[in-house]
Subunit: 124 residues, 2 copies
């Protein structure tokens, strides 16, 4: 289940780190930040606290620090956000989004073949 509170952009950066590897301490998380988001440790702690409040992560005590782990799965989050986009911009319909993406991305012949393969698989 996805709690209804939205995960912000900065918070998502933290989630990605925890999805890749958990549990981690706040310091560990800070050490794994991408270069273009080299936040201070206090900032990371604030974001972790907020994620705790949103019940997106949990922590358990390890000596005198916390080990954080995701509570929301990446799959759930991705599904949720994808649906949100489809609802907001494509009237909840999948096909218009697909058409838009296909056109936008200028699919290569290889992409098309790959998609056809995926579709065949689904048929069965």
């Amino acid at each position: 289940m996805m709690s209804s509170e939205r995960i912000s952009d900065a918070e998502l950066t933290i989630m990605e780190i925890l999805w890749e590897r958990a549990p981690l301490t706040a310091t560990d998380v800070a050490a794994r930040l991408p270069d273009d988001r080299a936040w201070s440790l206090p900032t990371v702690k604030t974001l972790l606290s907020r994620l705790l409040g949103k019940e997106a992560v949990e922590h358990h005590v390890d000596g005198r620090r916390f080990l954080y782990s995701p509570l929301i799965g990446r799959e759930d989050y991705v599904a949720h956000e994808s649906k949100r986009l489809v609802d907001r911009l494509f009237g909840g319909k999948f096909m218009p989004l697909f058409a838009h993406l296909a056109e936008q991305e200028n699919l290569s012949a290889a992409d098309i073949t790959e998609i056809e393969r995926l579709l065949q698989e689904m048929k069965s």
Copy 2:
């Protein structure tokens, strides 16, 4: 061109109205709000002002009121937001998003046929 300022959820509601029909006065916009977002006129005016500030809409004077029109096209906005989602959640790749959506949506046989038709069209 899309100015980099993000359009918020409430603001998007206004944009949708203007995309459907423009130019409109603030009062016209308010009258066309969906039922689940029956905001007061002042609220609509605030949102229009913010959209002006973000250069997402323009207005021109008509007697003593303004007529508002979108400056950003819906196509551009949709493309922008779709790309944002793909970048944030699918490493900028189209295929993973397609796979995710296809699985999620549980495509019907008719959908699949439709997609195949679209793909054929693209091939040529």
